[in-house]
């Protein structure tokens, strides 16, 4: 795996992401500054990490989405390269047009920082092959704007094409209003683009990868990516 982690001013989860990637893939990811116009040669995974790029000014992710490096990410994605956006990274991918919809203010207005349960909807994608379909995993969230919204047609297409990969759920996997922590449409926690090579998700799998973190449920996502890229190589 040759991962590139994008770094924008105000991002603060890039080190967590780098640590998780190194731990699971055995390879040190490259840190790529937002003003770069290209990705390191041989990059096979681009990660847009979490944080508060540009202080969430204007709209979360709006300014980062227009950074020079994002043109390179668009080209990379257009060629089928794998892109993972977490938290602010999901917001940036939506703002950049790589994913549909938008992350609105949490329905109950509060910034929420605690563990949630996610149901893995399918296991036959690069981003979920480390899990079983229907498996429930526990990962942390930390966001104020994670309430996924899109027009009805977009939601219908996401659902129809099986592009919702992760959904907020109860500990036993039930989808209900109580577990839908931020009010997201259809309890959506993570979606992929039409081609299936760009994933955006609000929860932080990179923060549940070592025993000392109290849980290792996030490992499957990264282990799946490693397996996917090894298969492709």
């Amino acid at each position: 795996m040759k991962a590139a982690i994008l770094v924008f001013p105000g991002i603060n989860r890039e080190r967590d992401m780098a640590r998780a990637l190194k731990l699971i893939s055995g390879h040190e990811p490259a840190m790529v500054w937002h003003a770069e116009r290209s990705l390191p040669s041989g990059t096979d995974l681009v990660v847009v990490p979490g944080g508060f790029s540009y202080g969430d000014y204007l709209r979360c992710g709006a300014i980062a989405a227009r950074a020079p490096v994002m043109d390179a990410v668009r080209d990379f994605a257009a060629k089928g390269g794998l892109v993972l956006g977490v938290c602010n990274g999901f917001q940036i991918l939506c703002e950049s047009g790589l994913l549909p919809g938008v992350l609105m203010r949490n329905a109950r207005l509060k910034f929420i920082c605690h563990d949630v349960h996610l149901r893995v909807e399918r296991s036959d994608t690069p981003f979920t092959r480390g899990y079983n379909a229907g498996q429930v995993i526990r990962v942390p969230i930390a966001h104020g704007e994670g309430n996924y919204a899109a027009d009805e047609e977009t939601i219908r297409r996401l659902e129809g094409d099986g592009r919702v990969l992760y959904r907020y759920c109860s500990p036993d996997g039930a989808i209900d209003d109580i577990s839908n922590i931020n009010g997201a449409a259809q309890s959506i926690a993570g979606i992929v683009n039409e081609r299936g090579n760009v994933l955006g998700m609000m929860p932080h799998p990179e923060n549940h990868v070592e025993a000392i973190m109290g849980c290792t449920d996030g490992r499957g996502l990264f282990a799946g990516l490693v397996a996917q890229l090894e298969k492709a190589a």
Binding site: L58, I63, G101, N106
Partner: protein, 79 residues
């Protein structure tokens, strides 16, 4: 030339911030508040002197950055 771009949420988009402000106004006893929707205002100074070109530039600014047209509408005014 001075201009103003006003960005507002589209009808039907839930606005929890507007709702919270609405609640606060009601609790302050401000009379007759039926509902509140929060938006953004950008005051922009342009070096252009041609009105048509200025409007074009402002529309580009709104489409490319100031508004997320998935959820927001915008209005451009030359002042």
């Amino acid at each position: 030339m001075k201009a103003r771009v006003t960005v507002t949420l589209k009808t039907g988009i839930l606005d929890p911030q507007g709702k919270a402000i609405e609640g606060a106004l009601k609790s302050l006893g401000v009379d007759g508040v039926a509902s509140v929707r929060q938006g953004k205002v950008f005051d922009i100074e342009l070096s252009a002197t041609d009105k048509a070109r200025a409007e074009e530039a402002l529309k580009a600014a709104a489409d490319k950055l100031l508004a997320n047209t998935v959820i927001e509408n915008y209005r451009v005014e030359l002042l």
